[in-house]
């Protein structure tokens, strides 16, 4: 593998890893703070992709689709939290598993009724459709850099929000001791609603920015959900930093595995997870 090829694969793995991080961050935050295991998280990713497709074909602009889709996903997240998830924070994991499994079915069918079962493509916005030439024959598409950029910006924003702002302080306090935080006069229900909507929005944005390169198809959420689980298990649940490092690790192993060991590429990520489980059953960065 020469340098240009190596660089391309490296950029691809970082892009894939960052995308996984967007999803895993929401999953791990929702679990870490509210104690809910959410199997329907992959459905939000699918929702994002379908929103990007339908809004960009309606408005003709990918930017409008991104902004409108994000706003819709926040509203969707708030409504879902208020109607269903709020009542499941104190319940068994088993009940949460079943509830969110039922939701997967509902979301899949609503998708099928609203948008049909066809595979769709989303056009890359013109501004970002160029490629950067690396050698005479190899080049790297700007849009993939854009995905990495968006994810990186959101990751930094998330980090800043949680560790440096007043809201972040309340979120951390709520995760640490829910009753004490509430006793201090902080509206914990509002905090939970915000965190949940944020998790939904992160997954939806991931689905939207990924849609031009992944295309839009039924059941696209389930595969990505499994990868998220692997990321969260390796990183240690509840840890956003762990999710970032483990997502990048999974991105590297998956991308380079496909190039170097194509026969067992599908298994490599799971082997990584098994190895981590033997070494640290609670993940690398358990808090």
């Amino acid at each position: 593998m020469d340098l240009a090829n190596f660089l391309i694969q490296l950029l691809n793995s970082v892009q894939y890893g960052l995308l996984l991080f967007m999803l895993a961050a929401g999953l791990t935050l929702i679990f870490g703070i509210m104690g809910v295991v959410n199997l329907a998280h992959g459905s939000f990713y699918m929702l994002g992709a379908y929103l990007a497709w339908s809004l960009s074909s309606l408005s003709g602009s990918f930017t409008v689709a991104l902004i409108g889709g994000t706003a819709l996903s926040v509203m969707f997240g708030l409504a879902l939290e208020r109607l269903l998830f709020r009542h499941f924070y104190q319940r068994d994991h088993l009940d949460q598993v079943l509830l969110t499994f039922g939701l997967i079915y509902i979301f899949e069918e609503l998708r099928s009724i609203l948008w049909g079962d066809d595979v769709h493509g989303v056009a890359i916005p013109e501004l970002l459709s160029a490629s950067i030439p690396l050698t005479d024959t190899l080049s790297y598409p700007v849009y993939r850099l854009f995905i990495s950029g968006v994810c990186l910006a959101l990751a930094l924003g998330l980090y800043f929000m949680i560790s440096r702002t007043r809201l972040g302080m309340k979120i951390r306090a709520g995760a640490f001791n829910r009753d004490m935080t509430e006793a201090l006069g902080i509206n914990i229900k509002l905090i939970h609603a915000i965190v949940f909507a944020m998790g939904v929005a992160l997954a939806t944005i991931a689905g939207m920015v990924a849609s031009p390169i992944s295309s839009v198809y039924p059941n696209m959420g389930s595969q990505v959900l499994i990868m998220c689980f692997v990321v969260v298990v390796i990183g240690g649940i509840g840890s956003v930093r762990g999710a970032l490092i483990s997502a990048l690790l999974v991105g590297l192993v998956d991308t380079f595995g496909k190039v170097l060991l194509p026969q067992i590429a599908g298994m490599l990520v799971y082997m990584l997870m098994a190895a981590v489980l033997l070494w640290k059953p609670e993940g690398l960065f358990k808090q």
Partner: protein, 331 residues
């Protein structure tokens, strides 16, 4: 995790109802069309599968979201062992297939039972999906299309190709597995598993190596799921990766919850109820241009959400509490 055991000792009324149910199942092929007898045979196979999961879910308190993997392994084992042009003997393929599932459960269990709570849920699901994609992506293993099982296993003493014989073979297996698991539940081993569910730390403190107990339960549950998977492959004559899929695992959990977990009878009742409901949803007619049956997942999804939100002890629990209320009103 739930610490309360759900109807570990079955009230006499329920035991009588179960016996009547068994007699009804034995008489069923004489009273119904072949189509429904086939359907009931499938329900019984799923009943075995659900009971095997109940050993983990209701008895040991391990929420496995990847149990279908072991159902699928034995099914595939039968598919690989059956030659193109002739049947293969039941008497060695059944132990081999069940053994393959047990081995798979042992290896995966070795990694997963050291985790707990939500990790256990995610890790069991991830390993099952790994197997799913392994079979899905590899043409040698049948790929996404799956493999046909052209002949039912040859039992020499009786002919499983006869649908009625197969029905009674399945019914017998169901009864044996149920009696075995009920016996196991009250054995020292079963009591230890229940102890792990109620308080694992205390079990360790009094000197039980809970890792070994959990691994043994996981392996045994995998083997019994394999038994069900073997029968499924033989009955349908076809295996595909969906047998190991996430849906299959989640459906099994739903069966156990629907019936009421921790006593095995609930798992059977739940499997019958769930399959019947699934059949009913898929059979819904077209209403005003809207194909309600095609969108069965919507109804099933809504049903699951409602069931989880409102009915928490399962059908058997509802029945038992109805009985209890009646007794109380006599006082």
């Amino acid at each position: 995790m739930t610490t309360q055991a759900n109807l570990e000792t079955l009230p006499r009324g329920l035991n009588i109802a179960l016996a009547v149910g068994f007699i009804a199942l034995a008489a069923f092929p004489f009273a119904s069309s072949e189509f429904y007898a086939q359907m009931v045979a499938r329900m019984m196979i799923l009943g075995i599968f659900a009971m095997s999961l109940d050993l983990l879910l209701g008895v040991t308190g391990l929420v496995s979201l990847g149990h279908a993997a072991f159902f699928g392994i034995a099914g595939y084992a039968l598919a690989f062992l059956t030659p193109q042009g002739e049947p293969v003997s039941l008497w060695w393929t059944l132990p081999v297939a069940v053994g393959a599932s047990a081995a798979g459960a042992f290896v995966i269990g070795f990694f997963v039972v050291r985790t707990r709570g939500i990790y256990f849920i995610m890790v069991t699901m991830a390993f099952a999906q790994m197997l799913y994609y392994l079979f899905f992506d590899n043409k040698v293993l049948g790929g996404s299309d799956g493999i046909y099982v052209n002949f039912k296993p040859d039992a020499h003493l009786f002919d499983l190709e006869d649908k009625r014989v197969f029905y009674y073979f399945t019914l017998g297996t169901l009864l044996l597995v149920y009696l075995f698991l009920r016996r196991l539940l009250w054995s020292p081993f079963g009591r230890s598993l229940a102890g792990v569910r109620v308080n694992e730390h205390r079990m360790r403190a009094v000197g039980y190596g809970t890792f070994g107990y959990k691994l043994a339960a996981f392996t045994l549950a995998g083997a019994l799921a394999g038994l069900a998977g073997y029968l499924w492959a033989a009955q349908t004559g076809f295996v595909n990766p969906e047998l190991m899929g996430f849906q299959m695992s989640a459906h099994a959990i739903m069966m156990v919850i629907l019936g009421g977990m921790g006593n095995f009878a609930g798992a059977i009742v739940g499997a019958f109820a769930f399959e019947w409901l699934l059949h009913w949803f898929k059979d819904l007619p077209e209403i005003g241009g809207f194909n309600a049956g095609k969108h069965w997942q919507l109804w099933m999804g809504i049903f699951i959400v409602l069931a989880v939100t409102f009915a928490r002890r399962g059908l058997l629990g509802v029945l038992a509490s109805l009985g209890a209320r009646k007794e109380r009103s006599h006082d």
